[in-house]
Subunit: 110 residues, 2 copies
DNA sequence: GGTATCGTCAACCATCCGGTTGAATATGCC
DNA sequence: GGCATATTCAACCGGATGGTTGACGATACC
């Protein structure tokens, strides 16, 4: 039924994977570069990336011998929509949030 | 660190638990009543409720011999905030996001 | 062709998860 | 006291998870 939502929430339930997602927020990355800041093996990171891919949170595109990882925001958006379905919170203005991020990024620039 | 978020997302990653949460949206319920529509044992539901409680998504209040379960929306809100601002672990961004939310709320007010 | 780099596969391990069943602990009722 | 109801505990099971290591298949470079 809602196995997609299962996969998304399960994928988000791990700090390593959340950190990977936030790294990909900056830019697309190769698998080796994703693994670099972590203290675990490359194989472990590769598994985490597979879980994120299965959940639809990222996509992987192999060009040459390097595999590029790209954030896919839609799956995460689905999770947010489910939470909002509770009606407990004001609906989130995604466009406003995008503008917020943009402003922050500009503010941080030298 | 971020074990709280771990627990929230892990708790949300199960359809039974999500269904329980949506049931509790209606009203507080006793454990037995929560278990009634499910086809699994009462003990299994009791475990699910323990997981939801540990994640802070519900609270349980024993009055007499019946234990009442109540939805606690704050934990879910934390998850939403992370998703919306994912990658904003740095306090600076979190504060900025709080201000952003505040601004949005003021903007929306009549 | 030979070699280094990128990434996954396979096997293994410890631990957790979601479920069961049966016994145990409260509490309420007569 | 004695019995029924509400809920958890304890032990168990099969399967998933998160990690390791070592071998392997591709691709790039000289």
């Amino acid at each position: 039924m809602d196995t997609e939502l299962d996969a998304v929430f399960a994928a988000l339930a791990d700090p390593t994977r959340r950190r990977i997602l936030s790294m990909l927020l900056e830019d697309d990355m190769a698998v080796t570069d994703v693994a670099e800041p972590f203290e675990m093996s490359l194989a472990a990171i590769s598994k985490h990336l597979a879980i994120l891919t299965r959940a639809g949170l990222i996509s992987q595109d192999k060009r040459g011998r390097v595999k590029w990882c790209r954030l896919e925001p839609d799956a995460m958006r689905a999770a947010t929509v489910w939470i909002q379905g509770f009606g407990l919170f004001e609906p989130v203005d995604f466009d406003a949030f995008e503008r917020f991020l943009e402003r922050e990024r500009i503010g941080d620039a030298p």
